[in-house]
């Protein structure tokens, strides 16, 4: 078990955004996280990545209790993420974005940088990552904020991968992508899992979720209402009700 949460709860004022959620993610698998808008998916991810601190419950990552650890510590432990609605560093080049993603992998190099030197190894790695997500080297020096939206999403994934994470959390990565791009994303995810990565995917694109995930967890009003293989989820009456309303109402 790479990631395990027990009774995870987060309240905002009177609203319980995440309500006693148990989550278990095996190594080298892809977990889909779906649910109607406002179901608590992003809040759950913010808890797991240390952006928010839980009110109750525990989070274990790779055998360690990380419940109260903040985002930069969790990133160093190997949790990388993208954001719903991209958050690339818009005023910096695509290459710099990826190099910043590699922050935890690089030794502090202030002193060695004082002497002008040839292109360092990390730049080579960063360029290779840009190529891998389909951005190409030609755009490496473009400002991230000037890239088309789909490219910004790809850049964000490259930045997350630069930290060589064990767990990659993708928050609606296919939003704004066309069918071809979304298929390429699915191919990328598959090859990453084959290399040993574990992925949590939040996505509205049902085909992507059903095609890419080994297991799917459904949230509704902050509670986990289903946790099963994709095929079972599609048949689950509780899930259908959450998405389509109850049979009576229909």
């Amino acid at each position: 078990m790479l990631l395990e949460t027990a009774g995870l709860t987060k309240r905002f004022g009177g609203v319980t955004a995440v309500n006693a959620v148990d989550l278990a993610v095996d190594e080298r698998t892809t977990l889909g996280l779906i649910g109607p808008n406002g179901a608590g998916k992003t809040t759950l991810i913010n808890l797991v990545s240390g952006v928010l601190v839980a009110d109750e419950g525990t989070i274990r990552f790779a055998g360690a209790d990380v419940t109260r650890e903040r985002a930069h510590r969790l990133a160093a432990r190997g949790i990388a993420r993208t954001f719903q609605g991209v958050r690339v560093f818009k005023g910096l080049s695509a290459l710099d974005n990826v190099l910043i993603g590699a922050h935890t992998q690089l030794r502090p190099d202030v002193l060695t940088r004082l002497v002008p030197s040839r292109r360092p190894a990390e730049t080579v790695d960063a360029l290779a990552l840009l190529e891998r997500v389909g951005l190409g080297r030609a755009r490496a020096h473009a400002l991230a904020g000037e890239l088309p939206y789909g490219d910004q999403r790809r850049l964000e994934i490259a930045r997350a991968l630069a930290s060589r994470p064990r767990l990659l959390i993708l928050d609606e990565p296919a939003a704004g992508m066309n069918a071809t791009e979304s298929a390429a994303l699915r191919g990328l995810m598959r090859s990453l899992v084959a290399e040993g990565l574990t992925i949590i995917l939040i996505e509205h694109d049902v085909r992507l979720v059903m095609g890419a995930c080994d297991r799917v967890v459904v949230l509704n009003f902050g509670r986990k209402i289903a946790d099963a293989a994709p095929a079972e989820i599609q048949r689950d009456p509780v899930v259908r009700e959450a998405y389509l309303g109850s049979e009576d109402a229909a």
Binding site: G50, H103, T104
Partner: protein, 290 residues
């Protein structure tokens, strides 16, 4: 050669002041580069000035050591201050650091050893022009190179987006504090140089107007690269001299120039060349390939 020496002799003080202003502008550039607006550097300059002058006077400390002690004292003061004020952002951070400056000023005014309101007089003129410009060259070179390092990129990332920075494993609080403390060290060092240039110092030299002046140097010069603060400091220190023939209208023209730069080159004087290049490319419809 004689012409150059004559020029240097005539304008030695102005050239020295420009160098010190440039150092101060670089000291605040560092926090601005990390996206933090702080106004404490005039006070750090004051700490460096008083500590180095008092050490020289009472303990006969050699000049370089006195300078170093002044800089380090400013850096040490910056640590607890930074830990406290970096809970705040934006204007609130600026005001909190400004308040710190006032506290320093009032302490200097009330303490017998700092000469209270009269300040310290008869400080030996030990600062040489080459010392100022060597310091400036070293600081500017190091800051220029730092931009391409993991630390420089972390500061740029924090300026762009703190939350996303933390998710990349950057300890945002620590990096902000580092920028602040290194800035204080540079300001403290320039304070020592300044004190041993001007013969006398008093608390009003390091107050609100100095804090704003330092900020103006950096912002008007431009934050995108380290040349900006140096250009800004040189221009705004030399301007009163250049505009001397205008007599009473001098301040008005200085204000107009400041206004013009802010309106037409909001990212600073050093972006002037970039702007021209972009315009040209737009004219030939080639902005996309730029």
């Amino acid at each position: 050669m004689d012409v150059v020496l004559d020029f240097l002799r005539t304008y030695a003080t102005a050239i020295a002041v420009i160098g010190i202003s440039a150092l101060l502008a670089l000291s605040v550039w560092l926090t601005l580069y990390a996206g933090q607006l702080t106004l404490g550097n005039a006070a750090f300059m004051g700490v460096g000035a008083y500590v180095s002058a008092l050490l020289g006077r009472h303990l006969d400390t050699p000049f370089p050591l006195a300078l170093l002690a002044g800089a380090i004292t400013a850096g040490i003061v910056a640590v607890p201050l930074g830990v406290t004020v970096f809970r705040l952002r934006g204007v609130y951070l600026a005001i909190a650091t400004l308040a710190f400056g006032e506290v320093v000023r009032v302490i200097l005014l009330a303490t017998p050893i700092t000469g209270k309101g009269q300040g310290l007089n008869g400080i030996p003129p030990k600062t040489e022009l080459w010392q100022i410009y060597l310091s400036l060259a070293v600081v500017a070179y190091v800051l220029w190179r730092v931009q391409g390092s993991t630390v420089g990129r972390a500061w740029a990332a924090i300026r762009e987006d703190e939350l996303a920075s933390a998710s990349q494993g950057i300890d945002v609080g620590r990096f902000k504090l580092a920028a602040f403390v290194i800035g204080a060290l540079i300001a403290g060092w320039s304070g020592g140089l300044s004190a041993h240039l001007t013969f006398s110092i008093d608390p009003s030299d390091f107050g609100f107007s100095k804090a704003v002046q330092i900020l103006v140097f950096a912002i008007v010069g431009g934050i995108p690269n380290v040349l900006g603060p140096i250009v800004g400091a040189a221009l705004f220190t030399a301007l009163p001299e250049i505009l001397r023939p205008l007599k009473d209208y001098r301040d008005i023209f200085q204000g107009l120039i400041l206004l013009g730069v802010i309106v037409f080159l909001p990212r600073g004087l050093v972006t002037f060349l970039d702007v021209r290049r972009t315009r040209k490319l737009e004219q030939i419809g080639a902005a996309d390939v730029a």
